[in-house]
C-alpha cells in the first residue's frame, strides 16, 4: 500500500513538474520581440576590435572594417566576417580648359571647323562649347593654347585613362579581394547594373596600357604636343599632371599605381599626398580653371541597395547635380553637358513613362557618361563586419551587411541571451534622436532601426521595396491617367489647423491601401495601445510642419526638402472596419512596390511624444529639430535620448496633464474622433513614467525597446519587447543568406567561322537559406552574352540567351551566335564569350567567360589553300583527274579481262567438270575427294564472282564520286566541298581495292594453274587407262 502510494505521488509530482515547465518551454520557443534578451552597444575603436573579440567583450562589430584592418584578427578562430559594399573609389579628372575664347551669339549649332576658324585655334584643342543665353555669348574652351595644355580637357585622353587602371590587381591585392572592379558608376553589386551591364561590356574596358598609349598619342599629337624620348612636351615644357592622392586609406596605393602608369605614358606626375581637409581645399574649393589639380582619388559612401537607382547617374555624371568639376559654384568654370543634364533629370525626377523608357534613358546616360569619362571608376570596396561564428539569425544583407535591421532584430547567440555589439561610437556630437531632423549618423540609425518596425523596407538581396509590418495593394492610373479621390478622404488644412474632407474633384495618380492590422491593437513600448490617433497625428504633424508657415519657416531644413513629397499626397482615407489606410498620391512608378514605399509614413513614436516634441520646438522655441537650425538659432537640437531633453518633455507633459491641455485637432476628422481626453491623459502619464524609469524619451514599437542610453559612457542597452500584442517572432526577421545564381556551360562550344553556333548554358537559380531551409528565390533570370575579340577588345555581339527548359533546380538556356556574327570573325583568332546571369531576386550576378579560337570553315580551308597555292593545286587536281581517268580505264580493262577470264575459266571448267563427272562416275571412290575439291572451288569461284562485282561497283561508285568531286573542283574551286582529304582517302580506298583485286587475280591465276595441272593429271590418268 505504501509503495503504491509512493509511486502515485511520484507520478503526480512528475506530472506537475512537466506541466509547469512545458508552458515556459513553449513560451520560450514562441516568444515575441527580439531574438536576444538584450543587446548592449558599446564603442570600440577600429584598432581594438581584434582585442575586444579576444577578450570576449563583444560578440559582433558593426562598423565597417577595411581589409587592411583584418590583421588584428589573426589567431582568432571563432569569428566570421560578413562583407557588404561599403564605398566606391573613382578618379575625378579636371577637364577645365587652359583658355576660353568668347564669341558673340550662339555658335553651338555651328561646326567645330567654323568655330576653330573663328577663334583661330585648331579644331583638335576645342574641349567644350557652351552658349550662355543670358549674356548671348558662346564660350569656347581650349585644352591647349600654344603655351599651356591640360591633357584632361581632351575627351580622348580622359577616356584612355580607363585603360591604364589595373582594376583586377587593385581588387585582388590592394583590397585583398574585398572589392569589385568598376568601369562605370554602378558595379555588379548594384541591382540596376542589370540594365546596363551589356552596354558597359561593349566598351571593352580592360587594363590595356598599350591601347591607352595609342589613344593618348593620337589626341595629344593632334593638340600639338610632342613625344620626345618617351616624354610628352608641349611648348617646350614637359606636360605635368598634378595628382592629388588621399593618404588615409587604400587610395594612397591606388594613386601610386596610377601615377606610375601615367609616368610610363610619358607624363611628369606631381604627386601630392593629402588628407581629407587639405585635399578638399584644393579640389572642391578652387576654380577648376586654376588647374591646381588634374586628378583626385575620390571616395564615395555606398548608398542603400536600390533596385532602380535613379539618383546615382545624376550624381556621378551630370553637371546640374553639382558633383562635376565646377561644382555649381558661381563664378567658376563648369563642366557642361546639356544632354546628360536632361537625361539624368528624367531619371531623377521620375518623368519616364514606362520601364522601357527608363531603361533606354539609363543606357543612354551610361554610354554618354562613359564616353565623357570625367570620372574614371576604379572599384567598389567592401566594408567588413565581424561576428562570433556561433551567432544565429544572420541575414547576409547585400546592402549593409551586419548593420542591417534584419540582423539586429534576429541576431542571437545560443546560450547567451544578453549580447554586446561594438560600434565605432554610440554617441557623437552629431548623434540626434528625433525623427524630424535627426538620425543623420549611422550610430543613432543603427540602434534606432532595432527599436521600430517600418511599413516597408528594402529587400536585403535585391533592393526592391518589400512590406514589413503592413500588407498593401496598389492601384494606379499612371503615368498619365488619374483616379478620383473619394469625397470622404481627408487632408490636413494647415491654415485652419484641422483635418478636412478633400476638395471635390480631387484626383491622384495612384492609391495605396495599407492594411494596418499589425499596428492597430498592438502596443507602444510604454504599454499604450497603438491607435488610429497615432497614425493621424503622425500625418497631421508632418503636414503642419510643411504647410504651417510659422513652423515651416522655423525649420526650413525640414520643411523645404519635404514639401514636394507632401505636395503629392492628395488625401487619406481611414477605413477602421478593416484597419485600412488609403493614401492617394500623385506618384507613379512602373514597379508598384515603389509606389507603396513612396506613400508610406511609418508611425515611429506615439502621438503624445510627437505632440510634445512639436510643442518644445515650435511653440516654446526651446529646441530645434535639426542641428542646422539649432546652430543658426543657438538652440540645442532635440535629442530624445539625452536625459535633460527627456526631462524637459516630461515636465511639459506634466504641465499639459495638469492643465488638461488636449490638442484634439490632430485626432478629429469629419468622420470621427480617434482620441479621448482620458486616453490622452493616460498616455501623457505613461510618457512621464517612461522618462522617469529609463532616463530618455525614445518610445517606439519594434522588437526591442531602448532601455538605457548613456552618452558619456558610450553605451546603449536595448531589451526585447515581449508584449504578446507584438506581431513578430524573431524568425520573421531572418532572411538568411542568398546564393546568387550559378552558371555553367556544360560543353564548350566550337565556333566555326560563318557557321551559326548554339550552346547550352545551365543556370542554378538563386537560393535563399534561412533557418536551415533553402528555397529557390522567385523572380526572372536573364542571361546575357557578349562576344569580344580578345586581341582588340572590340565587341562583336551582345545578346540574350533563350530559355529552353525551366526546372525547379536548373534552368537551361541556349545561346545562339548567328552566322552573320561568326562571319565577321577571323579564323584562328581568339574570342571571348562573357556570359552573365542576373536574377531579380538576388542582386549579385553570375558570370563566366569562355575564350575560344575560331575555327575556319572547310570552304575557308580550301579557299585558303587555293589563294595560297592555286596553280599547284590546280595542277594536282588535273593530275588527279588524269590519274583517275587512267585508273578508271585500267579498272574497266581489268574488269573486262576479269570477266573474260571468268568466262574462259567457266567454259574450261564446264568441259573439265563434265570429264571429271564422267571419270567420277567411272571411278566414284577414287574421285570423290576431287569432286569435293571441285565443288569448293566452284563455291569459291562464285564468291569470287560476287566479290568481284561488289568491288567493281564500289570502284565504279568511288570513281563516279571522284569524278563528281573532281568535276566540282574543276568547275568551281570553292565548291569542292568534298574535301581533298576525302579525295585522298577515296584514292587510298581505290588503291586498296585495286591491290585487293590484284591479289584476287593472282589467287585466281594460281587456281587456274592448279586446275590446269589437275586437268593434265586427270588426262594422263584417263589416257593411261
Amino acid at each position: 500500500m505504501g509503495i503504491r502510494r509512493s509511486i502515485l505521488y511520484a507520478i503526480l509530482l512528475l506530472a506537475m513538474i512537466t506541466l509547469s515547465v512545458l508552458p515556459i518551454y513553449l513560451v520560450a520557443q514562441e516568444q515575441k520581440g527580439g531574438a536576444s534578451n538584450s543587446i548592449t552597444f558599446i564603442s570600440v575603436s577600429l584598432d581594438r576590435v581584434g582585442e575586444a573579440f579576444r577578450a570576449g567583450s563583444i560578440d559582433a562589430y558593426i562598423y565597417g572594417l577595411r581589409p587592411s584592418q583584418l590583421d588584428q584578427f589573426q589567431g582568432i578562430s571563432n569569428i566570421r566576417f560578413i562583407s557588404a559594399p561599403g564605398g566606391l573609389v573613382s578618379l575625378v579628372l579636371n577637364p577645365a580648359p587652359v583658355k576660353t575664347v568668347n564669341l558673340t551669339g550662339d555658335w553651338t549649332k555651328k561646326s567645330l571647323d567654323d568655330i576653330a576658324k573663328a577663334i583661330g585655334y585648331p579644331k583638335a584643342v576645342i574641349s567644350q562649347v557652351y552658349y550662355d543665353k543670358d549674356k548671348g555669348v558662346t564660350y569656347v574652351d581650349l585644352a591647349a593654347d600654344g603655351s599651356n595644355i591640360n591633357p584632361f580637357a581632351l575627351k580622348d585622353v580622359r577616356y584612355a585613362m580607363n585603360y591604364i587602371i589595373d582594376r583586377d590587381f587593385i581588387v585582388r591585392n590592394i583590397y585583398r579581394g574585398y572589392g569589385a572592379p568598376m568601369v562605370t558608376f554602378l558595379s555588379n553589386y548594384d541591382p540596376t547594373y542589370m540594365l546596363i551591364s551589356d552596354l558597359v561590356a561593349t566598351f571593352g574596358i580592360t587594363y590595356n596600357p598599350g591601347y591607352a598609349r595609342s589613344l593618348i598619342e593620337k589626341a595629344l599629337t593632334a593638340a600639338g604636343a610632342t613625344l620626345v624620348s618617351g616624354k610628352w612636351y608641349y611648348a617646350g615644357k614637359p606636360i605635368q599632371i598634378i595628382f592629388i592622392i588621399r593618404t588615409e586609406d587604400e587610395r594612397r596605393d591606388i594613386g601610386d599605381l596610377v601615377a606610375t602608369e601615367l609616368e610610363n605614358l610619358g607624363f611628369v606626375v606631381n604627386k601630392q599626398y593629402l588628407t581629407f581637409a587639405q585635399a578638399l581645399e584644393i579640389v572642391y574649393d578652387t576654380d577648376p580653371k586654376e588647374l591646381q589639380w588634374h586628378i583626385y582619388t575620390e571616395g564615395w559612401g555606398k548608398g542603400a541597395l536600390e533596385k532602380y537607382d535613379s539618383a546615382t547617374p545624376a550624381q556621378m555624371c551630370a553637371p546640374w547635380y553639382g558633383y562635376m568639376p565646377g561644382w555649381q559654384t558661381e563664378g567658376w568654370w563648369w563642366y557642361r553637358n546639356d544632354t546628360l543634364d536632361e537625361l539624368t533629370q528624367k531619371l531623377y525626377f521620375g518623368t519616364f513613362t514606362s520601364f522601357e523608357d527608363y531603361k533606354q534613358t539609363y543606357r543612354n546616360v551610361t554610354a554618354m557618361c562613359m564616353q565623357e569619362s570625367v570620372r574614371i571608376w576604379v572599384a567598389t570596396r567592401m566594408d567588413i563586419h565581424v561576428v562570433r561564428a556561433d551567432a544565429q539569425g544572420i541575414t547576409e544583407d547585400l546592402s549593409v551587411g551586419l548593420r542591417s535591421p534584419f540582423n539586429l532584430k534576429a541576431l542571437y547567440i545560443p546560450g547567451k541571451p544578453d549580447i554586446t555589439i561594438g560600434h565605432l561610437w554610440v554617441y557623437t556630437s552629431r548623434t540626434i534622436w528625433n525623427i524630424y531632423g535627426g538620425f543623420t549618423d549611422v550610430y543613432s540609425v543603427d540602434i534606432e532601426r532595432a527599436t521600430y518596425d517600418p511599413l516597408t523596407w528594402r529587400d536585403p538581396f535585391n533592393g526592391e521595396p518589400i512590406p514589413i509590418r503592413v500588407k498593401y495593394s496598389v492601384t494606379t492610373a499612371g503615368p498619365n491617367g488619374t483616379l478620383s479621390v473619394p469625397s470622404d478622404a481627408i487632408i490636413w488644412d494647415a491654415s485652419q489647423g484641422k483635418w478636412v474632407n478633400v476638395a471635390p474633384g480631387t484626383t491622384a495618380k495612384s492609391v495605396v491601401k495599407y492594411d494596418m492590422s499589425m499596428f492597430i491593437g498592438a502596443k507602444w513600448h510604454d504599454g499604450v495601445n497603438i491607435t488610429w490617433g497615432d497614425i493621424l497625428a503622425a500625418w497631421a504633424l508632418w503636414f503642419d510642419l510643411v504647410y504651417n508657415n510659422s513652423k515651416a519657416s522655423f525649420e526650413t531644413p525640414i520643411s523645404g526638402p519635404n514639401k514636394p513629397f507632401f505636395d503629392t499626397i492628395k488625401g487619406l482615407r481611414i477605413v477602421p472596419e478593416n484597419n485600412t489606410l488609403e493614401v492617394y498620391v500623385d506618384y507613379w512608378h512602373f514597379d508598384p512596390n515603389y509606389i507603396a514605399d513612396y506613400a508610406a509614413l511609418t508611425p515611429i513614436n506615439p502621438a503624445e511624444s510627437l505632440v510634445l516634441q512639436n510643442i518644445v520646438v515650435f511653440d516654446m522655441h526651446k529646441y530645434a529639430f535639426t542641428t542646422d537650425t539649432g546652430r543658426a538659432k543657438k538652440l540645442p537640437t532635440l535629442n530624445l535620448v539625452l536625459k535633460n531633453h527627456a526631462s524637459d518633455l516630461a515636465s511639459l507633459a506634466q504641465q499639459l496633464l495638469a492643465g488638461s491641455v488636449f490638442p484634439s485637432k490632430y485626432f478629429a476628422t469629419p468622420q470621427g474622433t480617434y482620441m479621448s481626453l482620458s486616453e490622452w491623459k493616460a498616455r501623457l502619464q505613461a510618457f512621464i513614467n517612461w522618462v522617469n524609469q529609463h532616463g530618455h524619451a525614445w518610445i517606439s514599437q519594434g522588437p526591442y525597446y531602448l532601455d538605457t542610453f548613456d552618452d558619456q559612457a558610450q553605451k546603449a542597452v536595448i531589451k526585447a519587447f515581449r508584449d504578446p500584442s507584438y506581431p513578430f517572432n524573431p524568425s520573421y526577421w531572418v532572411k538568411g543568406s542568398a546564393s546568387p545564381p550559378m552558371l555553367t556551360v556544360p560543353a564548350t562550344p566550337t565556333i566555326v567561322v560563318s557557321n551559326a553556333t548554339s550552346f547550352i548554358v545551365n543556370i542554378v537559380p538563386p537560393t535563399i537559406t534561412a533557418g536551415g531551409r533553402t528555397t529557390v528565390a522567385s523572380g526572372n533570370i536573364y542571361v546575357q552574352y557578349i562576344i569580344k575579340d580578345v586581341q582588340t577588345g572590340t565587341v562583336l555581339d551582345v545578346g540574350q540567351a533563350r530559355l529552353l527548359t525551366s526546372g525547379a533546380t536548373m534552368l537551361t538556356y541556349q545561346i545562339t551566335i548567328p552566322s552573320d556574327i561568326t562571319k565577321r570573325m577571323a579564323p584562328y583568332n581568339y574570342y571571348q564569350i562573357l556570359i552573365y546571369a542576373f536574377s531579380e531576386a538576388v542582386a549579385v550576378p553570375a558570370f563566366t567567360s569562355i575564350t575560344l579560337q575560331a575555327q575556319p570553315s572547310i570552304s575557308q580551308m580550301i579557299a585558303g589553300i587555293v589563294t595560297g597555292q592555286v596553280a599547284p593545286v590546280q595542277q594536282q587536281v588535273s593530275d588527279i583527274l588524269k590519274r583517275m581517268q587512267q585508273m578508271e580505264l585500267e579498272l574497266s580493262n581489268t574488269s573486262r579481262q576479269f570477266t573474260l577470264l571468268g568466262q574462259q575459266l567457266g567454259q574450261q571448267l564446264t568441259g573439265s567438270l563434265q570429264q571429271v563427272v564422267t571419270l567420277l562416275q567411272q571411278q566414284a571412290s577414287a574421285t570423290s575427294d576431287v569432286a569435293k575439291l571441285i565443288g569448293s572451288v566452284g563455291q569459291q569461284l562464285n564468291t569470287l564472282a560476287i566479290n568481284m562485282s561488289a568491288i567493281q561497283s564500289t570502284m565504279q561508285r568511288s570513281v563516279s564520286d571522284l569524278s563528281n568531286a573532281v568535276n566540282k573542283v574543276s568547275g568551281d574551286v570553292i565548291g569542292v566541298s568534298t574535301s581533298v582529304s576525302d579525295l585522298k582517302s577515296s584514292i587510298t580506298e581505290l588503291n586498296n581495292s585495286v591491290a585487293m583485286l590484284n591479289n584476287y587475280i593472282l589467287a585466281l591465276t594460281a587456281l587456274v594453274v592448279v586446275l590446269i595441272i589437275l586437268n593434265i593429271v586427270l588426262l594422263i590418268r584417263v589416257l593411261k587407262k
Binding site: 581637409a277 581645399e281 525626377f349 554617441y427 557623437t428 556630437s429 531644413p557 539649432g630 543657438k634 558619456q712
Partner: protein
C-alpha cells in the same frame, strides 16, 4: 627699487604679453584668412552633403533643389558669420575672450571633443577638457617631478656608479620612446592581456563629469566615491607617462645638480668635511632651486596643453585633442579661448617664478 615695484613691473609686462599673445592669435587666424578658408571649406562640404541628402527626398525638381541649396548655403554663411569681414568677427571675439566672455563654439567637431552638442560655449568646452588633462598628464608630471627630485640628488654624488649608469641609460631609452607608443604597449599588456586596466578609457569622461557635478553640488560623498572609479581609469595613463618622463627628468635634474657640484664652494664644503646631506641641502639644492623651479613650474604649466597622440591612444579627449580640433576646424572662439587660458597659465607660472627668483636669489633683484 623695492621688491614690490619690481614684481609689479614684471606683472604689468606679463599682462601685456598675455594681451598681445591673444590679440596676435586673433589677428593671425583672421587676417591671413585661415579661419575663413577652413569655414568656407566646411560650408561647401555641408552644402554638398545637403544636396546629396536632397537626392533622397522624393519628387524635388532641379530648380527647387537649387533654391533649397542656395538658401541653405546662405543660412550657413550667416551662421558662421562669413557675411561679415573677419575684423568684425574676430576683434570683438578677442576682446570678449580677454574679459573671460568666451564665444560660442561653431564647429560640431570641437564640441565633440568635450562630448557636447551645439550650441556650446568655448569656456564650457575648455572646462570639460581641462580636468581630463589635469588628472592624466598634470598629475603624471607632478609624480614624475617628485620622483625625479627624490632620485636625482641621490645619484649626484655617485657619478659613474651603477645606479648612475642605470639612470643615464634609462633616461636615454625613455627619451627615445614616444609616450603614445608606450601607451599602446601598456594597453596591450595591462588591458587586453592581463585584464587589470580598462579596455575603454572613455568612461573617465563620465566619472569626471559625475565628480565635477558632485563637487559643484558640494556632495563630498559622491565626489570621493567616484574617486576610486577615477583611479581605475587613470592609473595606467599616469604610469605610462611617468615611465617615459621620469628618465629625462632625472637626467636633467642630475645635470643641473652636477653643474653646481663642480662649483668651488661645493668642493670647498666637501673639503671642509661637511656631511654629504648638509652639502646637498645647503650648498647644492639651494642654488639649484631656481632652475629646478623654473622647469617644474613651466613643465607643469605646459602639461595643460595636453598630448595629442597619447590622448588619442587612450581615447581620452583632453586639451591636446581640443586644441588640434579647434585649429583643424577653424573654430575662432575655441582657438582664442585656449590660447588665452594656456598663455594665462604660463604667465601666472612665470609670475610665480619671478616672485620665487626674487625670494630665492638676491641677485635677481638688480
Amino acid at each position: 627699487m623695492s621688491i614690490g615695484i619690481i614684481i609689479m613691473r614684471r606683472a604689468v609686462f606679463l599682462a601685456l604679453a598675455l594681451i598681445i599673445a591673444v590679440f596676435l592669435t586673433g589677428f593671425i587666424i583672421g587676417a591671413t584668412g585661415y579661419v575663413d578658408n577652413v569655414v568656407k571649406a566646411i560650408i561647401n562640404e555641408e552644402v554638398r552633403a545637403y544636396r546629396q541628402a536632397l537626392s533622397k527626398m522624393p519628387n524635388v525638381n532641379q530648380s527647387y533643389v537649387d533654391k533649397l541649396t542656395r538658401s541653405y548655403q546662405q543660412m550657413l554663411v550667416r551662421t558662421y558669420g562669413l557675411d561679415k569681414p573677419w575684423i568684425y568677427r574676430i576683434i570683438p571675439l578677442v576682446y570678449s575672450t580677454l574679459i573671460f566672455k568666451f564665444g560660442d563654439v561653431q564647429q560640431t567637431s570641437v564640441a565633440e571633443v568635450a562630448g557636447f552638442q551645439l550650441p556650446a560655449k568655448a569656456s564650457d568646452v575648455i572646462l570639460a577638457c581641462l580636468p581630463r588633462t589635469i588628472v592624466m598628464i598634470t598629475v603624471a608630471e607632478l609624480i614624475t617631478i617628485v620622483l625625479a627630485l627624490l632620485i636625482a640628488p641621490r645619484i649626484t654624488f655617485k657619478i659613474g656608479s651603477l645606479a648612475d649608469r642605470i639612470a643615464v641609460i634609462y633616461a636615454a631609452l625613455t627619451n627615445a620612446i614616444p609616450v603614445w607608443w608606450l601607451a599602446l604597449v601598456m594597453i596591450f599588456i595591462f588591458s587586453y592581456r592581463l585584464g587589470v586596466a580598462p579596455q575603454q578609457f572613455r568612461g573617465v569622461i563620465k566619472v569626471l563629469s559625475t565628480m565635477s557635478s558632485a563637487f559643484m553640488a558640494g556632495n563630498a560623498v559622491s565626489f570621493f566615491s567616484s574617486f576610486g572609479n577615477l583611479l581605475s581609469y587613470v592609473w595606467l595613463p599616469i604610469l605610462t607617462i611617468v615611465i617615459t618622463l621620469l628618465g629625462p627628468w632625472i637626467y636633467s635634474t642630475r645635470a643641473m645638480l652636477l653643474r653646481i657640484v663642480r662649483e668651488d664652494f661645493v668642493l670647498a664644503a666637501v673639503a671642509r668635511g661637511l656631511p654629504q646631506k648638509v652639502v646637498l641641502r645647503k650648498y647644492i639644492l639651494r642654488p639649484a632651486l631656481s632652475p629646478i623651479m623654473t622647469s617644474v613650474l613651466l613643465g607643469l604649466a605646459g602639461t595643460l596643453g595636453g598630448y595629442i597622440i597619447t590622448e588619442s591612444v587612450f581615447d581620452w579627449p583632453g586639451m591636446g585633442t581640443l586644441y588640434y580640433q579647434a585649429i583643424a576646424s577653424g573654430d575662432p572662439a575655441t582657438i582664442l579661448g585656449l590660447t588665452y587660458i594656456l598663455t594665462l597659465v604660463y604667465v601666472v607660472a612665470r609670475f610665480i617664478l619671478e616672485v620665487l627668483y626674487v625670494a630665492l636669489d638676491p641677485r635677481v633683484r638688480l
